[in-house]
Amino acid sequence: MKIFIEKTGETKDIEFSGTVKQLLETLKLAPGDVLVVRENTLLTDDIELVDKDSLKLLSVTSGG
């Protein structure tokens, strides 16, 4: 699974399957701090992810 993290600009490549909520727990990210996007669609916490997914994690907090 490829995950682009907007705040740091890095792309992680991990093996994962599970829900969005479980992914954020794995990445040690608070659900309120990011929005999870797959194919230009926002995902809620309950959405099931598969290993071939490509995701973008948008930072909720502004940089200013």
Partner: protein
């Protein structure tokens, strides 16, 4: 998870359409509840090119308000030029007139970088941003900023942590009427940062993540972390702001504002904070333009 309409939810329990409607309705209710905008008010939107000010401008437009846009360029390299570029793109895409961009360097004869020699960056930046917003908002009835629920909760806690509770009187969704200041309004007052970010994304606003290089030196950043960790018990930020609003009217007091003897802008003392900082930097205040 499905929205009440049966479509897939994209945030919380709402589909795209109903989420956008809920945010626009929340802003309209805030405007109505606190009388933020009166008929025929001339409105100036303070925009930085970030998610909040773009969201604010877009929602005000959808609610059929007209406004001008003002942006302040502090001259922070690697940061401000990018957000201003995105603001210009946003205005073009939406058919808004281009923003009036006022630069620290052009108006004050110096830039933020050079004024940092003896003061904390956020103190200098905040002082001059407010100075320029007040100066360029003259002639308007309202100055609208994109401050959201998270911002307000953070500022409330910052003032309490610093033992400055009477500064809380300056907060709230609308400032008191004053002959020297254009009243400031915060139409996004009850919108969370998460909501404005989602709103911006769902409207394809031209945003990328840019971080001010000084953000991690700020006291606000530390308070933000405390609040976000505590918000795992959801609703805390909203509770902080609602509790503050109950106390707000009792905290407000007549502020005896004067005019700075040097530049003529509103000041709580003989010389305003902006002129004091310029004295420290050994620079003369910029001439009136």
């Amino acid at each position: 998870m499905l929205c009440h309409c049966g479509n897939p939810a994209v945030i919380e329990t709402l589909c795209r359409e109903h989420f956008l409607e809920s945010i626009e309705r929340k802003v309209k209710e805030t405007i109505d509840r606190f009388n933020l905008i009166m008929p025929n008010d001339k409105i100036l939107v303070a925009a930085s090119g970030g998610k909040d000010s773009m969201t604010l401008a877009l929602i005000l437009h959808k609610l059929q308000y007209t406004f001008d846009i003002l942006a302040i360029d502090e001259g922070i390299p690697g940061y401000r030029e990018h957000t201003l570029s995105e603001l210009l793109t946003f205005c073009k895409q939406q058919g808004f007139p281009p923003p009036n961009v006022v630069s620290f360097k052009d108006v004050l004869g110096d830039s933020l970088q050079e004024l940092l020699q003896s003061h904390k960056p956020c103190t200098v930046c905040g002082t001059f941003r407010r100075y320029l917003l007040n100066k360029y908002a003259k002639g308007y009835d309202k100055l609208a900023t994109g401050h959201n629920l998270d911002d307000e909760a953070q500022t409330i806690l910052m003032n309490v942590y610093k033992g400055q509770p009477f500064l809380l009187a300056k907060l709230g969704p609308i400032t008191k009427a004053n002959a020297q200041f254009t009243r400031r309004i915060k139409p996004l007052y009850f919108c969370t940062e998460r909501e404005t970010r989602a709103y911006a994304f769902l409207n394809n606003l031209p945003l990328a993540f840019h971080e001010c290089p000084y953000t991690h030196e700020s006291y606000r950043d530390a308070v933000r972390s405390v609040l976000n960790n505590a918000e795992q018990q959801s609703g805390m930020k909203r509770n902080i702001v609602n509790a503050f609003l109950v106390m707000h009217e009792r905290l407000r007091e007549e502020r005896n504002l004067r005019q700075c003897e040097r530049c003529g802008e509103a000041s709580s003392g003989r010389i305003c904070k902006a002129c004091q900082l310029l004295d420290v930097a050994s620079a003369e205040p910029g001439t009136e333009s």
